[in-house]
Amino acid sequence: MLWLYIHFPNLLMDHVRSTRDDPGALVISDARKQSVFQACPEARALGIRPGMRLKTAISLAPDLAIMAAAPEREQQVLEQQARWLYRYAAHICLRPPDGVLAEASSMSRLHGGVDGLWRKLTQALEQRQLTAWLATGQTPRAARQLARADRGQCTDSPETLNGLLHGLSIAQAGLPERIAERLARVGLLSLGDLMQLPAEEIARRLEPETLQLLQKIQGTRPDPQPAWSPPHRFCQRLDFTRDVEQTSGLLFPLQRVLGELEEDLQWRQQDTDSLLLTLRHRDQPETRIRLRTAGPEHRAANFLALARLRLEQQALVAPVEGMALRVSRLIPRGQPMGDDLLGDGPDTQEAWQVLISRLQARLGDQALKVLASHEDHRPERAWSHGRPVRPGTASGTTCPSARSRPLWLFNSPEPVIHLPEAWLSGPERISGGWWDGERVQRDYYVAQLTSGQLAWVFRDVSGGWFVHGLFG
């Protein structure tokens, strides 16, 4: 069995740099030790090295952008990488904080051998601007140690792999520091030297754990690898090195995330209709923005247009230091709705969806209403409104009422101020609602008001006269 390990030496750095548009020096700091953890090439050019104290680094580069490393952030970023790597290998495992292990042999036929898989991965990594060290190995542990030492080669021949493994120094073997030191004092410098020793001796003189590790590297001890499976949601987080103060500044990074969302949805063959954008502020609770489309959608351009409309409406309460896009509602893609070959079905449907989504994004979800009628005698209860649904999906089970009704209905009845000019028809008694406590007892008339309007006038049980609608 062949394993492939991908080690990301600068994972956080690459992640932050991918969404950054200013080319200044950047370091990831270790908050506990107050030292530089990872440094970007620009920072290295200024003389900043990993392990250096932060104060020294700042004096070397006064406008240095510093980002603190946090374990949960690394985990999230690693999962983001695992999600796209999952497309290339069926069985992958996360090796926090900075590695992903993939089982390569079962998929090598699909990719045209290990070379093909290697090439595809390298391309994908380059496209994502990620620094990565790849290595193959016959055991998970061997692949890992080779990758971490950046000694990996694209090969599946056992001899070459063994040779590489034997060439690793003791320090690169992943042994505890104490053991490595002892071995160095004995004069064992490479992993090959150590592996030639008899197993009993190692267990007796060193520690049983060291033997276990060695056996895992050699493949003589089982090393089960629980498979990782991608979650049924999309979640991507971004961290800004400089706080963003304008909503327009959020659009550029958002565009990139939406592109990845589109790719992800395309690959899953799924759509979504609701996106949750979370803006993180430094000292304030985060802002949550929900973007909805009128129908299932997967294209980044459409999401971006909605996000732009929505962000234009929204003023930032505080500068944004990071944001996250989360999609938890995934809808399987249906068949195209077109009924016939030449019909304009799908196009119109899509245009409808785009228009409604746009209007909702700018005006709010409650601004657009579709009316519906109900069978109730009470005029207020005979209608309702709901969210627009795609035309054609609503069932047309309507039974028009026999009674004539006005086209305009007042939100609440208004008292009659002037005596109507003429009485045209009536009364029509409406009495109902005794069953749900909203009793209505009225006599309705049609009358012409002095202004010339035809009104629907009623007199209620208490004797008051009200206008309830107009015949428009």
Binding site: T348, W352, V354, L355, I356, R358, L359, R362, L363, A367, L368, K369, V370, L371, A372, S373, P379, A382, W383, H385, P388, V389, P391, A394, G396, T398, P400, S401, S404, R405, P406, L407, W408, L409, F410, N411, V416, I417, H418, L419, W423, L424, S425, G426, P427, D443, Y445, V446, S451, G452, Q453, L454, A455, R459, G463, W465, G469, L470, F471, G472
Partner: protein
């Protein structure tokens, strides 16, 4: 003299008013033959603005646009109502044979949003008809809407108060609506394409409200106090 005229005419050196090419503006018939006649067979102009100026809602203005709305809905188009003054009453619309699922009522917070929605609706190919009740419109905004209507080739009817009649407007058709005798609707054409203004017609609108043939006196009114209340 007659021969001279004949030669002039046969040589086509004289332009004759009667030969004026019939304007073939894209339009939708109004559904009322009396009004269609007045509009010189043009009807509601497509890809342009129409203004209906009325003193108050409830004088029959919706009856006037019902045939047009019905036709658009039957063609599978969507009809938008932007900021209507009252609630369009669903049972009544259904009774008129309109498919409620294709009618979208839009309420906006302010005038800027209303104009933005109007423009977006006009430019979309799904829109059959947009009806709007704007509060106040500047002529610059009107022109913007006119361009949007041209771009989307859609129908747009703006309902505005009568006072707006004094202002100039880029609308292709301007109708002034007044309540007429016997619940009819009086229409005065203030402006139209390819014809003179100030034409007049009256639509009876018999289906507007249930009116008894022997009106006033026979209606039982219940106890109504002597004085106005």
């Amino acid at each position: 003299m007659k021969e001279l005229l004949d030669t002039l005419i046969s040589d086509a050196r004289v332009w004759q008013g009667s030969q004026q090419a019939q304007t073939t503006l894209p339009a939708e018939p109004t559904g009322f033959s009396a009004l269609d006649l007045q509009l010189a067979g043009v009807g509601w102009p497509r890809g342009a603005l129409t203004e209906c100026l009325l003193p108050a809602p409830g004088i029959g203005e919706l009856q006037l646009v019902l045939p047009l709305m019905r036709r658009q809905l039957e063609a599978g188009k969507t009809v938008f109502w932007i900021n209507p003054p009252y609630t369009p009453y669903a049972p009544a619309l259904e009774r008129e044979g309109l498919n409620l699922a294709q009618i979208v009522v839009v309420h906006t917070q302010d005038q800027a949003d209303a104009l933005w929605s109007l423009e977006n609706c006009l430019r979309s190919p799904v829109t059959g008809l947009v009806m709007a009740w704007p509060t106040r419109l500047k002529s610059r905004e009107m022109r913007r809407l006119q361009l949007a209507a041209e771009a989307g080739d859609s129908l747009c009817i703006l309902f505005r108060p009568t006072g707006a009649a004094d202002n100039s407007s880029p609308a292709a058709l301007r109708l002034q609506l007044e309540p007429g005798q016997n619940h009819a609707l009086d229409i005065r054409i203030l402006k139209r394409r390819g014809g003179w203004a100030a034409e007049h017609c009256t639509l009876a609108l018999p289906d507007r409200a249930p009116v008894r043939p022997d009106t006033a006196t026979s209606v039982v009114r219940g106890p109504w106090p002597e004085r106005n209340r």
